[in-house]
Amino acid sequence: MIENGRLDLDQAWDLYSNADFHTLGTMAHEVRLKKHSQPLVTYIVDRNINYSNVCVCGCRFCAFFRPPGHSESFVLNRAELSEKIEETLRLGGTQILLQGGHHPGLPLSFYEEMLSFIKSRYSIHMHAFSPPEIVFFSRLEGIGIAEVISRLRVAGLDSIPGGGAEILVDSVRARVSPRKCSTSEWLSVMEEAHAQGLRTTATMMFGHEEAPRDRLVHLFALRDLQDRTGGFTAFIPWAFQPQNTAIPRETEGAVSYLRLLAISRLVLDNFDNIQASWVTMGPKIAQLALFFGANDFGSTMIEENVVAAAGVRFRLSIEEICRIIQSAGFEPRRRNMAYELI
């Protein structure tokens, strides 16, 4: 099926629904080995900085946000930002993943000044502002998405993280994140970013209120856009963590995570990299994911707040990440956001 070209939605659905666990894993692993013939597994040393948890979006799956004026709400000041970035550089980090909420009181100039401030002081890659934030800035300022992206680029934005994709099916978004940007808005931010020369990643958060086939629709939306732009560096699926959220359900298990990872590798034939998520699945399942299509171990995550707010806290040192990769039979290699080895 794979050898004869691309999977279509029905074929992918058939595989996802019917292929036995090890066959699906093996097919994905073969594709992964074909794309990356060296037995390498990459990782990046970076830090998540959440500049604020203030958000008017109110997504039901989110345990991190606080409404404006809440006693636990925060916006980081420059001293706090600097301290976090300096610590990252001290630990050998090369990138900051900077994200926040939909803060109603902060103009676009706030973010431009934040980026300029960081870039003027530190030599570090800024992977910042997921598409929903960019759409929110555009609405707040009454300007187009292209202008928002281009102003942020001028201020120092290097690439855009693929967050906020959740499930790229509007009927699902209407239930779980009704005030967040739509599927077409998310995709058009990415298309515009790619057009302006910014690379981005893409994510999926699954295991909440979507139907299983919605997950595949999501993958095909990404594949179509990637055919046009080639701007995505990697795909990162992760499982919804229900604790402290407004969606009560059991956490997605390891088996269904691995099946989804494998079908992602098979559908996204135009993506070079698939990332395992140790932050949500734990190091042992993330290691197993290296046999189900993943070729990247993600980030060392010197700091992570969003998943931690949903009660899941795994911690891994660089040494431990390397040991895990090596004991799975691969060679660990550090990379940058563009997946170039460094």
């Binding site: 019917n18 299983p212 042992k284 197993l288 004991s327």
Partner: protein, 386 residues
């Protein structure tokens, strides 16, 4: 099972044929499986055997663990639980405390798992009385108690034969022995890690006598410290040999070593790949032991679920309160509910079946309502497919 060409490419063709035909694997076959770089190939072979034996079922038990004391005359270097008498962190439950724990969580219990340290003073009569009292308050639960190491300790302390100790405990209500204390049978390892402990022959001999007395037992292996792959396989082969003679082993439980708070704290914990490979190879080597356990307390719930596709058919149970693994840094929760366990098994696309200690299926229980309806409800078809 994967298509033959995958096994051929990995040089596992001969082993795959043996597995397909139900032939016994050698220790060198086991070494080749451990050395295989492809997790899906090894997993697929083990899953084939597990499915041939148990179909789409994954078992669990409603049980309670009781660790009656951590005072122990042995000083095993891999243990974070044991304390010497007089140590401020030592504890010793009274008979009433033990019975209160059983009364507090008695509803629906079908198994009471009792193990502790080799206490220097407690007489055999204490345990006989205890088993009788447990039997009085919980007549319908299986008492699975005392590792082979504890049994040998009782015999030595009382100056009685192992046979007599087993018979006395059996008449007091003992129905089954858990499989602990086997560690790794290699004398090289035992001399270095647990020189005071009952040796391999002693362990196997207690089990043989238990089996001959009509007491079924489990068997374990503590791996992931300083043993070699070959020593793991020799351990499995020794169990397989005894099982050929007695047929008394019910379930094999590979236990991943947890280094925290032990004298081996400098060792790195095992990784997921090693855990799953060990489970898979156990399933393939132990062709005469019916069940392989994915013990979630040690593995974590997520890895234990994945293990159900790498040869394991049992998820263990509700446990309620566990001290030995957790004192060594196990990060799992203390206990699980029936609902949680059934949800995890269904989420893996398998059918949960409650069992008793001997793996008799319990069908009179009302089924726990499905806890993962919605998106994942497709994950529930035959032979592990979504």
């Amino acid at each position: 099972m994967l298509e033959a060409r995958y096994f051929k490419r990995l040089g596992l063709e001969e082993i795959a044929n043996k597995v397909a035909q139900g032939q016994r694997l050698s220790i060198s076959d086991g070494e080749r499986l451990f050395a295989c770089p492809d997790m899906n190939a090894v997993g697929s072979l083990a899953h084939h055997v597990r499915t041939r034996l148990h179909g789409n079922i994954a078992y669990y038990v409603v049980n309670r663990h009781i660790n009656y004391t951590n005072i122990c005359v042995n000083g095993c270097r891999f243990c974070a639980f044991s304390r010497k008498k007089g140590d401020p962190l030592s504890f010793e439950l009274s008979e009433d405390e033990i019975l209160d724990k059983i009364r507090a969580n008695g509803d629906g219990l079908t198994e009471i798992h009792v193990v502790g340290g080799c206490h220097p003073d407690l007489p055999l009569s204490f345990f006989e009385d205890l088993l009788r009292k447990i039997r009085e308050i919980k007549a319908d639960a299986c008492i699975k108690a005392f590792t082979a190491v504890e049994i040998a300790h009782f015999a030595k302390k009382e100056g009685k034969s192992v046979k007599e100790v087993l018979e006395r405990l059996k008449s007091a209500g003992l129905q089954m022995l858990p499989g602990g204390g086997a560690e790794v049978f290699s004398s090289r390892i035992r001399e270095r890690l647990c020189p005071e402990k009952l040796d391999a022959n002693g362990w196997l001999d207690v089990m043989r006598q238990a089996h001959e007395s009509g007491i079924k037992t489990n068997a374990t292996m503590l791996y992931g410290h300083i043993e070699t792959v070959r020593e793991r396989l020799e351990h499995m082969a020794a169990l397989r040999e005894l099982q050929d003679r007695t047929g008394g082993f019910v379930c094999f439980i590979p236990l991943t070593f947890q280094p925290a708070n032990t004298a081996l704290g400098h060792l790195a914990p095992s990784t997921g790949v090693d855990d799953l490979k060990t489970i898979a190879v156990s399933r393939l080597m132990l062709d005469n032991i019916a069940h392989i356990k994915a013990y979630w307390v040690m593995l974590s719930v997520k890895l234990a679920q994945a293990a159900l596709y790498f040869g394991a058919d049992d998820f263990d149970g509700t446990v309620i309160e566990e001290k030995i693994g957790h004192m060594a840094g196990a990060e799992s929760q203390q206990g699980m509910t029936r609902r949680e366990i059934e949800g995890i098994i269904r989420d893996a696309g398998l059918d949960p079946v409650e069992r008793d200690s001997l793996f008799t299926r319990l069908t009179t229980r009302p089924q726990v309502a499905n806890s993962c309806e919605g998106p994942r409800s497709i994950l529930r078809r035959d032979d592990g497919r979504v």
